[in-house]
């Protein structure tokens, strides 16, 4: 049982790691599954307050990475998650219905 779960985990990891991407990457913000905005990953500081009916999350983009600096959800698992920078990586704040995921230009154009 344990070995089969580990094998499945390795296969999924490999598939996700092999996801191709091109050009500029974006931190895409979704609330309740709906696309809100895509902020380009950049080296300079960009701080975005994401305010929803559920509460507030502070998204920071710096050194081509994105992270949630602060939240008022009470759990702060999104803050604890740390940086994301690779395509399909995500930060989730379930109480606020928030998902931040890294996407490339091609997938952003489809929004």
């Amino acid at each position: 049982m344990g070995v089969s779960i580990l094998v499945i985990a390795l296969i999924i990891s490999f598939v996700l790691w092999m996801q191709p991407f091109e050009g500029q990457l974006y931190a895409c913000v979704y609330i309740d599954g709906e696309f809100i905005e895509g902020e380009p990953l950049q080296t300079t500081l960009n701080q975005i307050d994401i305010k929803t009916q559920y509460g507030t999350n502070v998204l920071v983009i710096l050194n081509n990475r994105a992270y949630v600096k602060d939240t008022n959800c009470g759990y702060a698992q999104c803050v604890n998650k740390g940086y994301i920078s690779r395509p399909t990586e995500s930060i989730v704040c379930a109480p606020h219905g928030l998902v931040i995921t890294i996407e490339d230009e091609r997938s952003l154009k489809d929004k």
């Binding site: 779960i5 985990a9 390795l10 979704y30 309740d32 599954g33 009470g74 698992q77 995500s90 989730v92």
Partner: protein, 179 residues
């Protein structure tokens, strides 16, 4: 094995102690070990040790009682999102009970622990997927699966140690000692 009245009473006392231990351990884990992993929704779940212990050594139904105690604790201590905690807890204990019933002789403490952790974490992620309408939550699934095996093995091992040293002085221990 026929349960005598004293054994039944002893079992109930043990379950009561396990309930208290679950509440204490849950509070400690929430206070000091909640950030042990950087993955959303994944916890070490040390309290699961006692649920595994009850399922393996006392009665399957006590597993459900302990799981409900944990769910109620999570509402008061960690104010966890109810749906995640409730469905994760109930499905996880159900999976462990079913596994114990079907493979009683073939499955050990660690196996039961892995199944419980796997079902709990997978349920949490499926609920997150449905409620957030985003498949992006599944990015963490490989790590979650890996941690399920690791954490399940830890809690299962602890339950085995509790059983081996008969920490709760269950009746069968005395029989074994006589043998």
């Amino acid at each position: 094995m026929v349960n005598t009245k004293s054994e039944k009473s002893n079992n109930k006392k043990t379950v009561f102690i396990l309930c208290l231990l679950i509440i204490v351990l849950f509070a400690l884990e929430t206070s000091f070990l909640s950030n042990i992993t950087k993955i959303e929704g994944v916890k070490l779940g040390l309290y699961n040790t006692f649920i595994i212990f009850a399922i393996k050594n006392i009665k399957l139904k006590y597993g459900y009682i302990l799981a409900i105690v944990k769910i109620i604790s999570s509402l008061f201590i960690a104010s966890t999102l109810f749906l995640y905690s409730f469905l994760g807890g109930i499905l996880s204990v159900s999976a462990m009970v079913i596994a114990e019933r079907l493979f009683k002789e073939k499955i050990g403490f660690i196996g039961i622990g892995i199944i419980g952790a796997f079902v709990y974490n997978t349920t949490v992620y499926v609920i997150a997927f449905i409620s957030l309408s985003s498949a992006a939550v599944f990015y963490n699934i490989p790590t979650v699966l890996f941690l399920s095996v690791l954490y399940g093995a830890i809690t299962g091992s602890l339950a085995f140690v509790l059983t081996k040293y008969n920490v709760f002085r269950l009746g069968y221990g005395e029989e074994n000692e006589k043998k």
